[in-house]
Assembly symmetry: C2
Homo-oligomer: 209 residues x 2
Amino acid sequence: MRKKPWVDALLEHPPSFVLKDCSPLAQLTRSTYSSVHLEIGSGKGDYWIQMAAKHPNELWIGIEKDVKVAAVAIKKAQEAILPNQLFVVSDAQVCLPQFANGDVDVIHLNFSDPWPKKRTHKRRLSASTFIDQYKRILSDQGLIIMKTDNKELFEYSMVQFSQASLILEEMSVDFRREENDDVISEYEARFMSLNQPIYRCIWRKKSHG
Amino acid sequence: MRKKPWVDALLEHPPSFVLKDCSPLAQLTRSTYSSVHLEIGSGKGDYWIQMAAKHPNELWIGIEKDVKVAAVAIKKAQEAILPNQLFVVSDAQVCLPQFANGDVDVIHLNFSDPWPKKRTHKRRLSASTFIDQYKRILSDQGLIIMKTDNKELFEYSMVQFSQASLILEEMSVDFRREENDDVISEYEARFMSLNQPIYRCIWRKKSHG
């Protein structure tokens, strides 16, 4: 995507739901909402916007590091912004350490970059360094929900989450053929139209018992 | 399959590689072999026979509870029986408790009965009562390897193994499209010819570190 002139203008004076970094989030007053959701890699914001609208009692935070893509998400959200939405234009590697321990209830990883080459696997959002941060910022019964159309990324991530001692709560190898109330982004719809199965897993930080 | 007259005759005077129950296996002299493999639900024995032939240094034990199906496996194996093969016509529920702790290195579950109805899930070979027995009879670095063409059984089993604190070592949602040296049974070949993906997972009893 080529950078458009409005992007700089928008990001120079962003609307108030857009935060410069994740440091204010460390003091989240969690009492206002039933749960805190963090989507890492929100892309053009479809999922973040629709889920926030659907669940007004939940706080939805979106993070996107690609400035041009993030600007599209912000522009979209601006039209009908809700009080339970926050957005941060930042790299997860910079942003996650700014959260307080146990501050987040659900981390969402939707169609993350698969980084197919072996030497780039450490950049995957399910690499062990990221999982360590997720475990720190998640509440005790906190969840990581990952969806992807990428077989290799899914297989890799399953192993990574298990080896980090998370507990598998649910798995689907063809999520969209099951009934559920999850929203579908434009990005995801494209894969579905190609008849590509969508993989999903839910991992819990600690077991119930 | 209708019971044929030769079945009774064969099982009344079985060849010496066929054991009446699993109790002799509790005293396995493991030193003779590099590892002990146990296939639960060997069906007509294709996998058990081929893997034993391919890995003469490993002891391969097959268990099958269906008498008619087991008889087919025994008949097949009889033609070229190898010293590293044992077979037991028995129900896993009866047989597994007869193994000593840590006696088995790898448990193989190939295309197990999916028991699709919810109320029959407890009969699945990946139900928690079975997994408890597997953990007991497995050596510390022991593995459970499951292959299936059944999506629901696979998804269920992944959750069960994780919740039993096993560690995922490998997972594939399309195992036969990858290069590997696993043998293919007649039963499996049928699913492959229908272009049905084969799911596989490998779970370890304890993590390496």
